[in-house]
């Protein structure tokens, strides 16, 4: 383990340093801590200004009776970014630190007004980042007076006292924070334990029963991905596919809805939502794909009779040829060398490839959905589920169940969407009075996100699925329909379908001997609003 530590140490440090700029927002691209603080303030002011402008330009909400008779909303919605907004810098004194680094100041936590009425108009809430949105914030070690034990401030986990052994240099990034390099030898045990806890937290089985693992099994299963992210070249994750069942997405040919309401291209495992625009067009939006580890086994049996003895007739008179001496030695191997797994990690894939897209709209406060039997479950208790807004801190957990959520967000910058173009994010803009205006022609769009309560299940276990849909476009949409075509291995449990909005629910058997679930949302969906549908299925 000690030989293994430096390698992991360097890798973790390097990866953490690479990731670090994203944690500090816009200004984090700067290396200096003071500049990082200023950058954060600049980004915060820009975002605040943007929200204000969005609130002014947001189209009015339309009721169901007004749908159709109301002209289209403003043809373009402008969002502005001004770089001259007053920086909002929270004056929190940084702890003494010899390298001059500064603590990242946490922003005040907004408190959303609690309500159980989902039909009321959303309350404008300033979406300042909560501490939960900055889980990756790394705080430096607080070095105390000479001779005293320094205390490692590592964020959420409780600080562990470290034994001081030498003068301290710059801190070193660890999987759970920063520690003094001189304290590393005496904290090897703590290091190992914290690394195991961090791995357990990533893998999602912290707190579960401790199951002893063979020694050689651990290195391959240290990462969040199966086999530490290793897979054959050219194969996508999760791998191998025959051990997983999937639900969601739009595989093979894209799903289309004909003018006569015939749905075509809805393959097994597909989950899509479609809606009608004000222009009378029907648009299909696929959801992400949820992967569940659920291998199932069967057998092939063969029974044969055994021949007790076999006699062979040899040719008579055959000349026995001389053979090379020593060729006829049979030396069965009596020992076997047990192969040892390489004690290394093959790399871990960070969820940095998650593309996100955020609508230009108002930000709803947290509220409990009114028409649900239960409150939000653990697996779906995301900010995304409550308000439809992506947060940075939820990405690692969401990335485990979401494969391709086509969203884009950057809470530190102006939030823009340009159709199928790479959005231009202005970072560290110092030009005063600069405004960038993006105009869109009222594009309608909904986003469908699918989540599952479990990532692995045995046959017979029940899984709860949640589909969150949001109108992230700029038009009122109607006839919103959510379709989910279940795979063979999933059996819908009768009477478990729920919907946060008034909807009609239908089922129909598909060719995989499972069901197609269909929710028809009754009322039109205004801009910036969404809903949730939920159901349970049993793994066959």
């Amino acid at each position: 383990m000690k030989r293994f530590l430096p390698f992991v140490f360097e890798r973790r440090m390097a990866s953490a340093l690479r990731r670090r700029p994203t944690w500090s927002g816009i200004g984090a691209s700067c290396a200096a801590g003071a500049f990082a603080l200023a950058g954060c303030s600049l980004g915060e002011s820009s975002r605040t200004t943007t929200i204000g402008s969005m609130a002014e330009a947001a189209p009015p909400s339309l009721s169901a009776e007004e749908f159709g008779s109301t002209p289209s909303p403003a043809p373009s919605v402008a969002s502005q970014q001004t770089a001259t907004g007053a920086p909002v810098a929270t004056d929190i004194p940084a702890p003494p630190f010899p390298t001059g680094k500064t603590n990242v100041a946490k922003q005040p936590v907004p408190v959303a007004p609690p309500t159980n009425d989902f039909s009321v108009a959303p309350v404008m809430t300033e979406a300042a980042p909560t501490p939960a949105t900055q889980p990756n914030t790394i705080q430096p070690v607080q070095h105390l007076e000479s001779g005293e034990a320094p205390v490692a401030v590592i964020g959420e986990p409780p600080a562990l006292p470290l034994t001081h052994s030498a003068d301290h240099g710059p801190p070193i990034m660890t999987p759970w924070g920063e520690v003094c390099p001189h304290c590393q030898p005496v904290t090897a045990a703590i290091w190992k334990r914290k690394a195991e806890e961090a791995a357990a937290a990533r893998n999602g089985f912290a707190g579960g029963p401790h199951v002893p693992q063979p020694p050689s099994m651990a290195p391959y299963t240290a990462g969040p991905q199966p086999y530490a992210g290793w897979r054959p070249d050219g194969l996508p994750a999760p791998w191998p596919l025959d051990e997983w069942i999937f639900d969601g997405g739009d595989a093979n040919l894209p799903t289309v809805v004909d003018p006569d309401w015939v749905v075509r291209g809805l393959d097994i495992e597909d989950a899509v939502g479609h809606f009608d625009t004000l222009d009378g067009e029907t648009v299909v939006s696929p959801s992400n794909r949820v992967a569940i580890y659920a291998p199932r086994f069967a057998a092939v049996r063969q029974t044969r009779g055994v021949v007790a003895s076999a006699g062979r007739d040899y040719l008579a008179g055959m000349i026995d040829a001389s053979r090379i001496h020593g060729q006829d030695v049979h030396a069965p191997v009596t020992t076997a060398l047990q192969p040892i797994q390489p004690q290394t990690e093959l790399g871990q894939r960070n969820p940095i490839s998650l593309l996100e897209r955020q609508a230009i709209r108002r930000l709803d406060g947290a509220r409990v959905l009114a028409r649900f039997v239960d409150t939000l479950q653990l697996y779906e208790d995301f900010h995304l589920t409550r308000t439809g807004e992506f947060l940075q801190g939820e990405k690692p957990r969401l990335a485990k169940s979401m494969d391709a959520a086509m969203t884009w967000t950057d809470l530190k910058a102006v939030q823009v969407i340009v159709d199928e173009d790479v959005p231009l994010v202005e970072k560290n803009a110092v030009k005063p009075d600069e405004a960038r205006i993006y105009e869109r022609q009222g594009v309608p769009c909904i986003r469908v996100v699918k989540m599952a309560s479990k990532g692995a299940a045995l046959p017979g276990e029940e899984i709860e699925f949640t589909l969150r849909y949001d109108n992230i476009g700029e038009q009122l949409v109607g006839n919103v329909t959510i379709l989910d075509n279940l795979t063979t291995r999933l059996e819908y449990i009768e009477g478990t379908a729920q919907s946060s909005r008034e909807a009609e629910f239908f089922v129909e058997e598909n060719e995989a001997r499972s069901l197609v679930l269909r929710w028809e949302i009754v009322d039109p969906l205004p801009v910036g609003q969404g809903g949730i549908v939920r159901f349970r299925a049993r793994v066959r």
């Binding site: 089985f205 055994v306 076997a336 060719e511 066959r540």
Partner: protein, 269 residues
């Protein structure tokens, strides 16, 4: 513009399922017209490198030679025995104390693990020495290895067939989700296909999924000629977790409610 009203679901001229069936029929017709076949059917006549008549352990050795993350991996295996049965594993040249009920062990690919099965129902005092050979491994999420072991069932019927002088080969395979049967799986009964003695079970299992383990039942003698087996078969490394687990047991008879004749092989034997 007012959106057009939405008709009730299911009253359309062609509903979703109807369109799906139509698309499936169209795809099948196109495949037949083009002379193409499904991937499973395309394997007919292929030259398979391995068969179950090879030396126990030879398939796994060749799997290791292909590379990949197989060498040294401990694959949890759940051995399910009938009621009253006990199993012993060969450790350090001798059999371990019999373990009643079922057992969970972790095995490695490339070896043939020999067991001693006692307490066979209706055959008191008789013993069998089957072997298990892993041919592949699972790649579960971290920490879920023991939740998803490879189940190897030894049924009463197979044990009695072996005691009567037959040689029973049972290839456990990982079911292809795209060819999965729409039936509820049970932990106490493993579905199986019965094939003729002239067929190769490994090939059949390969066409149905991914072969994971080969169970050979037939030996009634504890002694074995070492030259008949692959090296290391006498005492291959084995991992036995020190924990108490509850295992399902195989019923004395097959599930009468599960009529496998409804689900024949998806291809001609």
């Amino acid at each position: 513009m007012t959106p057009k009203p939405r008709p009730p679901f299911g009253t359309t001229p062609r509903s979703v399922a109807a369109s799906l069936r139509t698309a499936a029929h169209a795809a099948l017709a196109a495949a037949l017209l083009c002379g193409a076949a499904t991937p499973a059917l395309a394997q007919v006549g292929a030259h398979y490198l391995h068969d179950t008549e090879m030396q126990p352990g030879a398939i796994g050795r060749e799997q290791l030679a292909r590379g990949g993350p197989m060498a040294g991996y401990w694959q949890p295996v759940e051995i399910v025995l009938p009621d009253g049965g006990a199993v012993s594993f060969e450790v350090e040249g001798q059999f371990s104390p019999p373990q009643e009920g079922s057992a969970e062990v972790a095995l490695q690919i490339g070896y043939a693990y020999r067991m001693r099965v006692t307490g066979i129902p209706l055959r008191p005092g008789e013993e069998l020495y089957p072997t298990i050979e892993l041919t592949s491994r699972l790649y579960p999420p971290a920490g879920q290895e023991w939740k998803f072991p490879v189940p190897v069932h030894l049924t009463v019927e197979e044990l009695q067939l072996a005691l009567q002088g037959n040689f029973v080969t049972r290839v456990v395979y990982l079911e292809d989700p795209n060819q999965a049967l729409p039936v509820q799986d049970r932990p106490d009964f493993q579905r199986y296909f019965e094939i003729a003695p002239t067929q190769e079970p490994l090939e059949t299992a390969d066409r149905l999924g991914r072969p994971m383990a080969v169970l050979r039942i037939g030996s009634r003698m504890p002694q074995v000629d070492p030259r008949a087996l692959m090296p290391g078969v006498l005492s291959p490394p084995i991992w036995m977790p020190p924990r108490e687990v509850t295992h399902p047991t195989v019923p004395q008879t097959a599930d009468p409610n599960l009529d496998l004749r409804r689900y024949p092989l998806p291809f001609a034997p």
